[in-house]
């Protein structure tokens, strides 16, 4: 089965205006905060992880027609079905988020950093080329930054690798780098120059020496 993300929007021709919003307006329907809280509260159950959630959202066939919390809701429903949560014999939750420890859980967060399995392949200032091919699974290298040459600008240590973690294949920690690209490299000589540099955070398997 082919994997298709509908969420990879960087550089696409989307002309709708950007609708600005006052600072306090984070929800736009009474059910939206409930969906946000359900998704966050399902975290400790261990039935899914952040990369599985993202993979489930981005592959919803009607992704582009849904509002953001509709996407969250549809993915939550889909994962609940997939994981047998609503079946006769649901899997046991690892932990249940109780009201008393919500704030402590938020404060602890969910760090993605892990001990590295080996030394980093690249150093600051190295020129690297990103993978060209589009993988048939969840990935975090945006389409506009595929097959491009950039420079390693920051090294963040080893982090959980979304490409495996999204598919239940383990965390397989990989070195994570900030890679910066000149605008001409990304958009060619014909795009109007903006005096801009774009960076992505790229996992080591996305990169080759350039």
């Amino acid at each position: 089965m082919t994997y298709r993300s509908h969420a990879d929007l960087g550089g696409q021709d989307v002309r709708d205006p950007i609708v600005q919003e006052a600072e306090g307006d984070v929800f736009h329907a009474p059910w939206e905060p409930r969906v946000m809280a359900l998704v966050v509260a399902m975290g400790p159950t261990g039935l899914s992880n952040i990369d599985m959630n993202r993979a489930t959202r981005e592959t919803l066939p009607n992704y582009r027609d849904l509002t953001y919390y509709q996407i969250w809701l549809a993915a939550l429903e889909k994962l609940a079905l997939q994981n047998g949560v609503l079946s006769e014999s649901p899997p046991a939750p690892k932990q249940v988020q109780h009201a008393g420890d919500v704030m402590a859980r938020i404060k602890r967060g969910w760090p993605a950093s892990r001990p590295a399995a080996g030394p980093a392949r690249f150093s600051l200032g190295d020129r690297v080329r990103t993978l060209q091919r589009e993988p048939q699974h969840h990935t975090r290298l945006p389409g506009y930054a595929r097959g491009k040459v950039g420079v390693i600008e920051k090294i963040h240590g080893a982090h959980v690798f979304p490409d495996t973690n999204a598919h239940g294949m383990g965390e397989a920690p990989q070195w994570l780098y900030t890679v910066a690209f000149d605008e001409k490299e990304l958009w060619g000589d014909t795009a109007p120059l903006q005096r801009s540099v774009v960076s992505v955070d790229a996992f080591e398997p996305y990169l080759e020496p350039a």
Binding site: L38, M42, H98, D201
Partner: protein, 186 residues
């Protein structure tokens, strides 16, 4: 209603404690929002040592003010200068530094911002009413992993006499994403 049905099922099966949902919603409506980030910025404007710490190890510097945690586990602060303007986007989904800015505004998660911020940053800034000098370089940080970015905006002129709280009041959410500038002193 779909949400209620799902919540009832998840509660019945023992995955969800509905009381926890109320606490979570209250946290992101009243406690965790852009005023947290504004405190960080105001401190950095007033305290040169804190500014250096923030630029070197943002996670630790921000944690020292009590704003550590979920979607802020790996923070990087990027400083605007007359030569360099920083702007943050997540083209793949909606990655955003919740611990300092709260939940993202709808436009940040929307297709037009995600599509255009990387390719036409000056056009996007114009939509937000920001026009930068042609000589200013624009740096766009696409949050494609679990690192979260906070923009440290330039301190507005004539604010030497202001207290930290007064400075924080000038800091807008958009100025910490890089799509806006701080308010000027009255």
């Amino acid at each position: 209603m779909r949400v209620r049905a799902l919540e009832a099922q998840l509660t019945e099966k023992g995955y969800i404690d509905p009381a926890a949902l109320d606490v979570l919603i209250d946290a992101y409506q009243t406690k965790i929002g852009p005023r947290n980030g504004a405190q960080v910025v105001a401190r950095a404007w007033r305290d040169p040592e804190f500014r250096l710490w923030l630029l070197k190890d943002a996670t630790a510097a921000i944690a020292s003010l009590g704003f550590a945690g979920r979607q802020g586990e790996h923070m990087v602060a990027v400083e605007n200068t007359p030569e360099m303007h920083n702007m943050v986007v997540c083209t793949l989904c909606s990655c955003y530094p919740w611990a300092v800015l709260g939940l993202p505004p709808t436009w940040y998660k929307s297709a037009p911002y995600r599509a255009r911020a990387v390719k036409d940053p000056r056009g996007v800034l114009k939509e937000f009413g920001v026009e930068l000098p042609a000589s200013t370089q624009i740096r766009i940080w696409d949050s494609t992993a679990e690192v979260r970015y906070l923009v440290l905006p330039q301190r507005p002129p004539d604010t030497e006499h202001l207290s930290e709280q007064e400075l924080a009041n000038l800091v807008t959410r958009d100025s910490m994403i890089g799509t806006g500038l701080p308010n000027s002193a009255a």
